[in-house]
């Protein structure tokens, strides 16, 4: 069947679902009524240019039915200003300049909105409005109406600190760059003077100005390097910062001395070293900042409020009718009664005291099927309540909860993870002592040969001056910048430069099962007819009509498989953990598990094979089987399973082709895991693992010499993601997983992994070349310094040649990229 592209969200969808509309002589197709509605709203506001302006390369989020927003989470961010009220919010779903344009225009159309400005890079909107004319709720509804999602905008302390650091670097770099450019004017004059002859008076004036310009570069812009050098030298660490301080400092001291004896000066070398290194650091911090910003945006807000049940004096009263109040999760105490509504996150660990429901604990335990909760069952904080309302008694709070335990495991792993020094730092660790020794040897050599102490010392210092490779500071950041740009265009966010080096040396890829190689949500796999006289479509239609009223994830999978219109249903009733019943098409229909069928005395039509034999293979493969019937006879069996991601098998094959081992690891049972693994072409299976078990498994493998890439999405993967050499989280995963990982797949597209591995390999090769060439020109010039014929022109030439090489070489990463 041909696929069509939705005119609004660009999603490809099967033709039979199309909603067609004719307008102004042209035809439009939409994937759903939501998209159609948004399309007409945008057109009717005269903003249809959005469709011609946008330049998306992939499908966006289809319009979802409007969900009620929790205004309380926004209200605390509202500020009162002179013009009116002001708020910063984050708008989810913005993908291009046209989205920004559409949102701004659409908000400004509303009466009472005074200004709306969206930051293109961060998707943060600043909205000012007049509270007398429009309410915040209406503004947020407008954003929702055109298919975007407003979210409270919060910055973590860590994030604020990072931004302040980046701004500080920019000021330091800008200042250094300005002073260096001024300095170049005088240096050029001095070079010209060297070749053409210069009046000594003019020379000294130019040199003094050059010195005055260099001092702030070293003392202000270079201050972080000097501080790091001092703290590093206390532990006898020779870092890049030490090399820079030694290089720039010795060039400066040498120049001041030469200035007085009428020799040549190296002020420009001293300033340029610091400027170029600062440029590298700034590039690095923006690349890093962009990734962490996006991750921060992806992260879901943890439940911060809980509905506490106020106990009245009359203990006999039914709990469910008691009044509730919203309190902060942090203030909960043991024994508190908390009410949880359908779809909410369970705020803390506890035991169900009233009501029943099912909880989705997959992010915590890896179990893909919903877990039934009745009075007396334990609930885990952070899991999601599916469809019933229940009240539970808090048994653990704060640090004692299972969730806090997992977070602690992640923190432990983070602290214990040996952070590999990046290549440049490792080389510098050897290079600095080597250069210091060369310098000392040169000085002693000159003294032994009878040179004056002065000459000997200055020659020794000149070795230090020429040895400092300016472009070393650019070698890694530039390659990292090109790498992160390429990676992010494929939907991979990289948290830091060291990821490249680590990824390029991997030999083993471990996948989590639920939500990583599978979709993480159940879908209808098969419908088995027990009553052959029935039409398959008709049965599916009835089932979907009933399940449509249920919020159950398994029910949703049946609804998802049916694309036609639904039948009216009356007398609907759901029994949590068992099934649903209702009347449709004049039949009293029952859908549910085996026990539910027994309760309703439904039996199999006698001419078929035993039901058990039919369902056994599916149950063994880890699928969930539900039954449907009416009038005491079973009519159909639905097989629901968590299906494999489309790209999983191909991804695994590609990784195997790259010569790496592939393993699947899961908290789920052995049979299910093995079934999924074989479908994804993975032979190596590890199942029934707790979060700590996964971490220990990874640790064990790494201790025996493997270098592991772990891909996961859930909270239960977080410790393993941190422990692994490189952790990759799915963008649709939990925030803790994304925080623990080194990289995030924004679109949850596994096919990006082989690309990521390949790209890292190439980028790392370029980094190594860059570092080699950054050192090369300077090392070649060292013999000149030792022989005492060093000249500023040589230093400047080495600097320019190596910098140019590093820049051009870094751009080469782009060339081999296959997207």
């Amino acid at each position: 069947m041909a696929n069509l592209i939705c005119n609004h969200c660009l999603l490809s969808f099967p033709e039979r679902d199309a909603i067609r509309e004719e307008m102004d002589g042209s035809r439009h197709v939409f994937c759903c009524h939501g998209c159609r509605g948004v399309y007409f709203l945008i057109r009717s506001e005269g903003l249809a240019d959005f469709y011609s302006k946008r330049d998306w390369d992939g499908p966006g989020t289809p319009a979802e039915p409007l969900k009620e927003l929790d205004l309380n989470t926004f209200n605390e961010d509202v500020r009162e200003t002179e013009q009116g009220r002001e708020i910063d919010i984050f708008i989810e779903g913005i993908r291009c300049a046209s989205c920004v344009w559409l949102n701004e225009k659409f908000l400004l159309r509303a009466k009472g909105v005074l200004s709306a400005r969206i930051n293109f890079a961060t998707h943060k909107a600043k909205i000012v409005w007049d509270p007398d004319l429009i309410s915040l709720a209406e503004i947020l509804k407008r954003i929702q109406a055109i298919g975007y999602k407003p979210r409270p905008y919060r910055e973590s302390e860590q994030f604020k600190a990072r931004r302040a650091e980046s701004r500080d670097l920019l000021v330091r770099f800008g200042t250094a760059a300005f002073l260096s450019s001024q300095l170049m004017i005088y240096s050029t004059a001095l070079y010209a003077g060297y070749f053409q002859g210069i009046d000594p008076g003019t020379k000294i004036i130019l040199e003094i100005i050059a010195m005055v310009l260099t001092i702030p570069v070293i003392l202000y812009s270079g201050m972080p390097f000097i501080q790091n050098t001092i703290s590093g030298l206390r532990h006898l660490h020779f870092t890049m910062d030490a090399l820079i301080s030694i290089g720039a400092g010795s060039a400066f001291i040498y120049s001041v001395y030469q200035m007085f004896i009428g020799g040549t000066v190296y002020f420009d070398t001293s300033a340029m070293i610091i400027t170029l290194i600062l440029l590298g650091r700034y590039i690095e911090s923006t690349a890093k900042g962009k990734a962490s910003e996006t991750i921060e945006k992806l992260a879901e807000l943890a439940p911060r409020e809980a509905r506490i049940v106020k106990r009245s004096r009359d203990n006999t009263k039914d709990l469910s009718t008691e009044e509730t109040a919203l309190v902060l999760v942090a203030s909960l105490r043991k024994g508190d009664l908390i009410k949880v509504l359908p779809g909410e996150k369970i705020p803390s660990d506890g035991m169900v005291a009233h009501g029943e429901s099912e909880a989705d604990e997959s992010i915590l335990t890896g179990e893909s099927r919903p877990v039934r909760k009745t009075v007396g069952s334990e609930v885990i904080g952070g899991s999601v309540n599916l469809f019933g309302t229940f009240i539970f008694e808090v048994t653990r709070t704060g640090k004692e909860t299972i969730l806090a335990g997992i977070i602690r495991a992640v923190e432990d792993a983070q602290a214990g993870k040996p952070r590999l020094q990046i290549l440049a730092d490792r080389i510098v660790g050897y290079f600095v002592p080597a250069i210091l020794i060369t310098s000392v040897l040169t000085t002693t050599g000159y003294i032994l040969r009878g040179a004056s102490l002065n000459d000997a010392l200055m020659t020794g210092v000149s070795v230090l001056v020429i040895a400092c490779p300016c472009s070393l500071g650019l070698a890694t950041p530039l390659a990292v910048l090109v790498f992160t740009t390429l990676a992010s265009s494929r939907g991979i966010l990289i948290k830091g430069g060291e990821v490249i080096e680590n990824t390029s040396r991997l030999d083993h890829v471990v996948f989590d099962k639920t939500g990583t190689i599978t979709e993480g949500k159940p879908s209808l796999k098969e419908t088995i007819l027990l009553d052959q006289s029935m039409d398959r479509q008709y049965l599916l239609r009835i089932a979907a009509s009933l399940e449509n009223l249920s919020e159950h994830s398994i029910g949703r999978s049946v609804v998802g498989a049916w694309n036609g219109d639904l039948l009216p249903v009356c007398d609907f009733r759901a029994t949590p953990g068992r099934g649903i019943e209702g009347t449709a098409d004049n039949k009293a229909i029952v859908i549910g598990n085996k026990a539910f069928m027994k309760d309703h005395a439904l039996i199999a039509p006698d001419h078929t094979v035993p039901i058990g034999a039919l369902t056994f293979p599916y149950e063994q493969a880890g699928d969930t089987v539900i039954y449907m019937g009416w009038d005491n006879i079973l009519r159909a069996i639905f097989v629901v399973s968590d299906c494999l991601r489309e790209e999983s098998a191909n991804t695994v094959k590609e990784i195997l082709l790259q010569g790496k081992r592939v393993t699947v690891i899961s908290g789920d049972n052995r049979i299910t895991t093995a079934a999924i693994a074989s479908a994804a072409c993975i032979d190596d299976v590890v199942s029934e693992m707790s979060p700590e078990g996964k971490r220990d498994y990874i640790r064990g493998l790494q201790q025996s010499g493997s270098r592991i890439l772990m891909v996961g999405d859930g909270m239960n993967d977080a410790p393993a993601l941190t422990e692994a050499f490189v952790g990759v989280a799915m963008g649709k995963g939990t925030d803790i997983a994304m925080e623990s990982a080194d990289a995030v797949l924004v679109r949850s597209d596994l096919a990006a992994i082989p690309y990521f591995l390949d790209l890292s390999l190439r980028a790392y090769r370029v980094i190594r070349q860059n570092i080699f060439w950054a050192f090369f020109y300077n090392i070649v010039a060292i013999p000149l310094a030792i022989s005492g014929v060093l000249h500023p022109i040589i230093a400047a030439g080495a600097m320019a040649a190596s910098s140019l090489f590093v820049v051009l070489n870094s751009l080469r990463i782009k060339k081999g990229a296959r997207v």
Binding site: R43, S44, G46, A48, D49, A97, V100, W101, K105, I118, N119, F120, A121, T122, R167, L170, V171, G174, T175, F178, S181, Q182, I185, G201, T202, I205, I209
Partner: protein, 57 residues
């Protein structure tokens, strides 16, 4: 000689002016959204009226 000193002085004054301008730009957040302006520049602000005149529903 005096022309030289005067010119040096002038270039330093101009340079410091540019530097102060840069500091102001960073402080006032000009570098916070380097991507947006290039797209904003291409937006037509008059088209609202144009579209309304056309009488879209």
């Amino acid at each position: 000689m005096w022309t030289l000193i005067f010119l040096i002085f002038l270039s330093l004054v101009l340079g410091i002016g540019a530097w102060l301008f840069f500091i102001w730009a960073v402080k006032s957040g000009q570098y916070d959204d380097p991507e947006g302006p290039k797209y904003r520049m291409l937006e037509d602000n008059e088209e609202e009226e144009k579209d309304n005149k056309k009488g879209h529903p």
